[in-house]
């Protein structure tokens, strides 16, 4: 075993930036030779419009260089395929390979978005069928798949509320209705999306039990300026808002509409429908509930589903069916407009439809049951070692805090980093903001009994370490190729791109 000299830098060492690997003259591609008579470039594009820098500093590498570069970097990532990825509110479930295959069928992959509708009937059928399924799952009839991610769907939903109220009340009266109510436990995207739609935000308190404070809601609704409420259900501490009917009633009575953030729909599919609860408009995250891959930060797809009453306000074009034909319908004068070029993140729609078809209606419900069961099992398994701030039984995710461990100096961040040493991706930390030292754990349905037990054991072991040897946590992780990075220094003097040595020195 000894005396082995490695001839190349091993993957456990730093892989250079591609720019540092670049060698003049290397290429990794081959195109067919130009088969038309070449004209002087200056005759096609005047010199003053041409690029002058000869693309200096762009990489020059071989195909093998490229493959090794990316494969090495890939090994530094944790991923769902490696193990449990219990990020709360993120629903990191298994991404089926079948869905990937579907998305790569050439008849979809090679299809131009501006194809005449009669030549893209299959593609439109996929959109239409997925719309129908999502309408059934949410109990909301109007569906647009155009938004590209959750926050984009939120913006769409809130703009629909605004357009509806403007149309209902008339410009003068509606101008007095510019308040969006948002619980203090909400995702940060909610207030940001409300702001984009021209609303000012008022925050609703949560009760000590972790629910929306109805009295505070009533008080805020009394002001007469409420356009709507943005509510996550189950909420971000993993609890089903049991008063959802009453909440919707209060907002409706005050002349507002209810928007539901569907980030947590994995707790509800096949079990309960937002439309039946009184919700007016919702966004879904196909990259959460419907298993399309997160891709290291997208692409997502954030469909917006709404009541019949709000349907005229959805983005155009709508994809509709007339007889046996699937059509693009642009004739929606009340529409908020287009939120994205073309029709949305189509490749994600293919994967989501494949997910729904693979599971079937009973399978969708079973997935929900397993997701909730797994979270409940973790809640049960960790309550002896970690502070659980809310008593109510959690749905698909459960929140704990670092209250007990913090006494010895080990905080949520340290627990999360130590969990990496045990081979797990950490949970969501310090969210929701209303829970001090929050650890939000969402196992999803994609982990089995054995792995849940391993996770619980790891968390308990960390709790013991926190009591006996907190230093171990403070310096974690110990097993990764780099340790904790100095993020404060990185933000103070940001280096956001590579520069060639000489220029970097000069700058």
């Amino acid at each position: 075993m000894s005396n082995i000299t490695k001839v190349t830098s091993h993957i456990s060492h730093n892989e250079s930036l591609i720019f540092e690997r670049s060698q003049p003259g290397r290429i990794g591609y081959r195109l067919p030779p130009l088969d038309v008579d070449e004209q002087p470039l200056n005759d096609i594009v005047p010199t003053e419009l041409q690029r002058e820098d000869d693309l200096i500093d762009l990489p020059e590498v071989s195909e093998v260089d490229v493959i090794r570069h990316f494969v090495r970097m890939s090994t530094w990532n944790y991923s769902i395929d490696l193990g449990m990825y219990p990020l709360g509110s993120c629903t990191m479930k298994y991404n089926s390979r079948l869905n990937e295959k579907v998305a790569r069928i050439p008849g979809f992959g090679n299809l131009h978005p501006l194809t005449n509708q009669e030549d893209a009937q299959g593609a439109l059928q996929v959109i239409y069928e997925l719309q129908e399924h999502l309408a059934e799952i949410t109990g909301l009839d109007g569906v647009s798949l155009q938004p590209a991610a959750g926050a984009h769907g939120e913006m769409t939903g809130v703009m629909i509320i605004r357009a509806f109220i403007d149309a209902r009340d008339g410009e003068g009266a509606s101008a007095k209705r510019r308040t969006m109510l948002i619980p203090d436990s909400a995702h940060g995207t909610n207030p940001a999306s409300a702001h984009l739609s021209g609303f000012s935000v008022k925050t609703i308190r949560s009760t000590s039990e972790g629910f929306t404070d109805l009295d505070h809601l009533r008080e805020l609704c009394g002001a007469g300026d409420v356009a709507g409420l943005m509510l996550t259900n189950p909420n971000t501490v993993g609890l089903f808002e049991k008063n959802i009917r009453e909440i919707c009633q209060i907002v409706h009575d005050a002349g507002g509409l209810v928007y539901m953030d569907g980030a947590n729909m994995n707790a509800l599919v096949g079990v309960a429908r937002p439309g039946d609860m009184g919700v007016d408009v919702i966004h879904l995250n196909l990259h959460k509930t419907f298993s399309t891959p997160h891709g290291g930060g997208g692409p997502g797809c954030g469909p917006c589903c709404c009541t019949k009453e709000l349907e005229p306000f959805l983005p155009v074009p709508r994809i509709v069916k007339s007889g046996n034909q699937y059509l693009l319908d642009f004739q929606k004068p009340q529409s908020i407009g287009r939120v994205k070029a073309f029709y949305g993140n189509y490749g994600m729609m293919l994967r989501a439809l494949s997910y729904i078809q693979t599971h079937g209606n009973d399978g969708l419900r079973e997935a929900t049951e397993a997701a909730v069961l797994n979270a409940r099992y973790i809640a049960n398994g960790l309550v002896s070692d970690y502070d659980k701030p809310f008593d109510a039984p959690p749905m698909h995710e459960v929140v704990f805090t670092d209250k007990r461990q913090a006494r010895k100096g080990a905080h949520t961040l340290d627990i999360a980093k130590r969990l990496i040493d045990y081979g797990f991706h950490p949970m969501t930390i310090y969210f929701p903001l209303i829970v001090s030292g929050a650890m939000l754990i969402e196992p999803t349905e994609s982990v089995g009994h054995q792995e849940l037990d391993q996770f619980i054991e790891a968390m308990r072991a960390i709790a013991r370490e926190a009591a006996e040897d907190p230093e171990l946590l403070l310096n974690a992780p110990h097993t990764t190729r780099i340790g904790r990075l100095d993020e404060a220094a990185a933000a103070r003097k940001p280096v956001l791109r590579w520069k060639p040595k000489a220029k970097a020195d000069a700058a």
């Binding site: 195109l31 131009h112 079990v271 997208g298 780099i482």
Partner: protein, 437 residues
């Protein structure tokens, strides 16, 4: 497991949902399909997309380019595609370094100083650029000039409708196809930004440097939007022309057409505006042992910290597609990108020569072009293109009447390195046979 947590049935898991809200019937969605059945179903639907098998000359914001085989292989590594946003840098260095390289490549190509980790697509990136120009200048008028992609304009209008921004549009010049001189009349010291697309929607290359001067003379920013990113390798970079914000659709960099998405928006600007940017940024950082790594940085701009005061509501972006673009750009490299640019320009020039020589066909615009051009046909474009598709199995371009009702005979044609001379000749012959029989 149910017993271990003190429950008797799966239904008990949902006891916190009021009984009357629980769905008492199975979902009315299809029963489960096997892999074979499912694939057959999707293959049947794919077959109904008759256009996907034709030779195509359609561009207009989505382009057919050669995609090296390695791109999809790297994307298919589950370490990349099944990872989340890199919030835990110790176990996300792969994704983080890729984004750092992506940001660098976007800066190099656009000629700008900083770039973010991606936006949803070109159209939403443009909308975010308009919102950013308002933040930077504290002015509220934005003027889009010339032939900007009509769907991009629609998206911007949606985004700014409640932002107190006065979004105006100055039309193109009917002879050149470029920005009209009428711009002078609306440009004033209340203007936050001029928006120009180059090459523009008609394929015409704009005089970006002159527009930058005009914008800067009144203290406004110049936003340049690019739908055909392959042009960046050949044309003077927007940064070199004086742009303040550059946004682009990155689909040309190794991303399949896929009926319009997912694509990837590129967003770049000057260093002094970095803290006004939307979206995620990755920066260099070091651990205690001095080892280099990468982290998400300048997060105080973002929604999870600033909430309604954030620079944007964007969270999930297009990470995996940014990876595709990065693999593409590094595989093609300096010389490959130049060759793609050259071949596009040469083949397009050839196509222009062949088609404009046909009796009855003419070029309505005089400005120089990269890989798209408008041709005026002697017949109604939709009918001509439909016959061409049926009789010659060619999608000959986009009928401009889709967006411009007053241009019934105009066709926007795109030629890339994937189109052979034989295909271009077939296109010209097809047009000729349908018109000059």
């Amino acid at each position: 497991m149910l017993k271990q947590i003190g429950l008797n049935s799966a239904a008990d898991l949902f006891s916190s949902i009021p009984e009357e809200l629980r769905l008492q019937r199975p979902l009315n969605t299809p029963a489960a399909l096997s892999e074979l059945e499912l694939l057959n179903g999707f293959e049947r639907m794919a077959d109904a997309n008759t256009s996907a098998k034709r030779t195509s000359f359609v561009g207009a914001g989505a382009y057919s380019h050669y995609i090296p085989t390695v791109v999809d292989h790297i994307l298919s590594r589950s370490e990349f595609f099944t990872a989340y946003t890199p919030y835990q840098p110790e176990i996300s260095q792969g994704t983080l370094q890729v984004i750092f390289e992506f940001q660098t490549l976007v800066c190099q190509l656009t000629g700008m100083e900083v770039a973010n980790a991606s936006m949803y697509d070109g159209s939403t990136a443009l909308a975010e650029a308009v919102l950013m120009a308002e933040r930077v200048t504290k002015r509220s008028k934005v003027i889009a000039c010339g032939a900007v992609h009509p769907e991009y304009l629609e998206v911007v209008r949606t985004y700014v409708q409640h932002a107190g921004i006065d979004f105006e549009h100055v039309d193109f010049d009917n002879k050149t196809g470029r920005t009209a001189s009428a711009l002078d009349e609306v440009l004033d010291d209340k203007t936050a930004a001029i928006v120009v697309q180059s090459p523009n929607f008609f394929g015409c290359i704009e005089d970006v440097s002159a527009l930058a001067e005009q914008a800067h003379a009144v203290g406004a920013l110049l936003i340049v939007t690019v739908t055909e990113a392959a042009s960046l390798a050949l044309l003077k970079s927007p940064g070199a022309c004086g742009a303040d914000i550059v946004v682009a659709e990155g689909q040309s960099f190794g991303v399949p057409l896929s009926f319009g998405g997912p694509y990837v928006g590129l967003f770049a600007t000057r260093e002094k505006y970095a803290r006004q940017m939307p979206g995620r940024l990755v920066g260099e950082a070091y651990d205690k042992q001095g080892r280099r790594g990468f982290v998400l940085t300048l997060a105080t701009r973002e929604q999870h910290i600033k909430r309604e005061k954030a620079t944007s509501n964007i969270c999930t972006n297009e990470g995996l597609i940014a990876l595709a673009a990065t693999v593409y750009l590094e595989t093609m490299g300096r010389r490959g990108l130049q060759e793609v640019g050259q071949q596009c320009a040469q083949k397009t020039a050839y196509a222009i020569k062949q088609i404009s020589a046909l009796s009855g066909f003419s070029l309505p615009f005089s400005a120089p072009r990269f890989n798209e051009f408008v041709i005026s046909a002697p017949l109604v474009a939709t009918e001509l293109l439909s016959k061409l598709a049926i009789q010659h199995n060619i999608d000959g371009g986009l009928a401009l009447s889709r967006y411009f009702k007053d241009r019934p005979n105009d066709i926007l044609i795109c030629v890339t390195e994937t189109n052979t001379r034989a295909e271009i000749d077939s296109l010209a012959q097809g047009f000729n046979s349908l018109v000059n029989r």
